[in-house]
Symmetry: C2
Subunit: 166 residues, 2 copies
C-alpha cells in the first residue's frame, strides 16, 4: 500500500462520520490564515479551527508571494474575510538554504536556471514583518486587520510579532 | 474579543497539551498535498494526517501556480517528499467568477489592473488534470508519484481523477 492509499483509507473513515455537508463557502470566523507548508504545523489544530471556520493559505515559508496575494484577494472579494493572520515558525526550512544555492543545484541538474525566487529567508520574525509589508503594499488587498506570529514547533505556542504600523 | 484573539485562546489550550516538540521537518509519510484554501476543507482531518506527516500547500483553487511549484521543489529538495497529492473540490469559489470580471472589479475600484492571473476555472476535475499537467511540465519537479482527486464538500469523500499519462 502506497502512502497515498493510506491517506485514502483515512478518508473513507472520515467520510463515514462526516456531518458538515451543509456548510457554505464563507468562513464562519471571517479569517484568512497565511502560513508555511511545514508538516509539523497543523493550523486547524493549533488555532482551534473547525471545518468552515477560516481560509488557510500555505506555501513554503508562509510568504506573501503574488500567489498568496491572489488568494487573499479572492478570499476578501468572494466571501468577505476581514482578518489576516500570518504565521511563520521556528526551525523553518527556509532558513536552511539560499536562493543562489538552490538555483545552482537546479541548473547543475537540469541545465535550466529558475526565473523565480525561492523566497529563502534568514529570520522568521523579520520575514513575518516582510510578509505583512508586502500585503500592505498591494493595491488589491484590503487592510482591515492583520496580525503576525511565529509558531514555536517545540512548544506548539504562537508568539506575536509587532508589525510596522500595526 | 476579535476573531484572532479567539484563535489565540485556542492556541493556549493546544500548547498546554502539546507533545510533538521532538518532530523533525521531514514529513513522515513522504507526501506533499496541494489543495484549496476553502474553509470547508481540513486536509489533515480528511486525509488522516497527524502533525509531522505531510507538507500541505494551499492556495485559491489548489492550482499549480509558480508559487506552488516553488513550494513543491523545496519540499522535494529539502526533505525528499516522494508523492504529490492534488485535491480540488466541489462547489469551489474558483468556478463562480472569471479572471476578466475580477480584474474589471479591481481596476474600477483601485485604478490598477492586476498583471497576474486569478486562475479561475470552470470545472474542478479538468483543473486537477491541468494542475498535474503543469507539474509534469516543470523541469524542476520530480515525478515519482502524482495522483489527483476532487473532494466532495457534501460527503467528505475523495473521488480520484484519472491523470493523463498517470
Amino acid at each position: 500500500m502506497t502512502a497515498t492509499d493510506d491517506l485514502l483509507a483515512s478518508n473513507q473513515r472520515y467520510a463515514a462520520s462526516y456531518d458538515k455537508g451543509a456548510l457554505t463557502a464563507a468562513p464562519a470566523k471571517g479569517v484568512v490564515v497565511l502560513t508555511c507548508m511545514d508538516a509539523r504545523l497543523d493550523p486547524a489544530r493549533f488555532l482551534g479551527l473547525e471545518e468552515g471556520d477560516a481560509h488557510v493559505i500555505r506555501n513554503a515559508g508562509g510568504v506573501a508571494t503574488d500567489d498568496a496575494i491572489r488568494s487573499v484577494v479572492i478570499s476578501q472579494r468572494l466571501v468577505g474575510t476581514e482578518s489576516i493572520v500570518i504565521v511563520h515558525h521556528t526551525g523553518c526550512g527556509m532558513e536552511s538554504f539560499t536562493d543562489a544555492a538552490m538555483k545552482d543545484e537546479l541548473v547543475a541538474e537540469t541545465g535550466i536556471r529558475p526565473s523565480f525566487s525561492f523566497e529563502a529567508f534568514p529570520d522568521a520574525a523579520a520575514d513575518v514583518r516582510q510578509t505583512a509589508a508586502r500585503l500592505a503594499a498591494s493595491p488589491f488587498v484590503r487592510h482591515e486587520h492583520v496580525r503576525g506570529f511565529v509558531y514555536d514547533v517545540e512548544s506548539g505556542r504562537l508568539h506575536e510579532v509587532a508589525l510596522d504600523g500595526g
